[in-house]
Amino acid sequence: MSPVLRPHFSAQGLRQGARAALPAFPGFIMFALAFGTAAAQKGLSLGETLGLSAFVYAGASQMVGLEIWQQVWTPTTILTIMTVTAVVNARMIMLGATLQPWLKHEPLPRTALNLFLLTEAGWLIGTRYHNEGGRDVGVLLGCALILWLVWLATTFVGFFAGALVPEPKRFGLDLVMPIFFGVMLVPLWKGAKPALPWLAAGVVSLIVHALVPGYLFIIAGALAGVVAGMLIE
């Protein structure tokens, strides 16, 4: 690897990021198809469905949002859906925290766009690139932009053609996200000791998952990993 680079931004990085995003495509496609289909079955309009994918752009919270979607809204139901969304997406606070040193000299509007498009998959790909010495913020943004386009386009397809998609379970596609995440774990491996916090994260997430319904196990496990990392010298 070249000597440590200063954070910078280039159009070439945008293209590199778009290519690096490819392994995340299957997961995005399956999830967005499923969301588009579920939204159509729930009776949402095309505009509402695309609006959720374009602006909220966070799969788990969009799916949970469908569960409490209303035909006629009241201030209470709006507050409920906002609260539930915030709880499901609170884990993103930590993703942003790790990106701050990389983004701190970026112009504000570009950072706002980069963070608006932040997803776990894009963040994992960007983190891997950063760990390997790369500092081009264009890679992060290029990856995020292409994933957003894939998400929006396949939401559209799912809305109209979801029923035509063959049973995803047969091809193992229901587990495409966990398997992609597992693959992204490999380049992060730097020996057993730096992985001890991961163990804490895994154990805590299993316990919380067994005791508390919902998605709390993700943020509880991740927090346990961070605390363990801080405590282990």
Partner: protein, 107 residues
């Protein structure tokens, strides 16, 4: 019903719901950067943040994979081994999904 209540009850309520979800999600997305730009990053905090990517992966996938039983565990192991050998992410992904499809086809 007041004017605000009837506005929310109209089709504009959906727009408001999406706007509200967008707002809180964006706040979650920027909060980490905003907070960290005001905190001095000590070696201890840096160690904690370095542990985060792996921690978030394990916290996300472990419960899901265990819920899906041994076919999912074997598929995940196959994906990780393929990635460790080939170092190409798409190879790891295809190996994992292929393993799962084969187990389910014969299982």
């Amino acid at each position: 019903m007041n004017a605000f209540g009837s506005f929310i009850a109209s089709p504009w309520g959906s727009v408001l719901a999406i706007a509200g979800m967008t707002l809180v999600t964006f706040l979650c997305r920027i909060a980490g950067v905003v907070v960290m730009s005001r905190v001095r990053i000590t070696p201890r905090i840096e160690r904690g943040l370095r542990a985060l990517p792996g921690s978030i992966i394990l916290a996300t996938i472990l419960p899901v994979v265990i819920d899906n039983g041994w076919p999912a565990m074997i598929a995940l192991a196959a994906a990780i081994i393929a990635m460790a050998v080939a170092r190409i992410d798409i190879v790891g992904l295809v190996t994992g999904l292929g393993t799962l499809a084969v187990i389910r086809a014969f299982g």
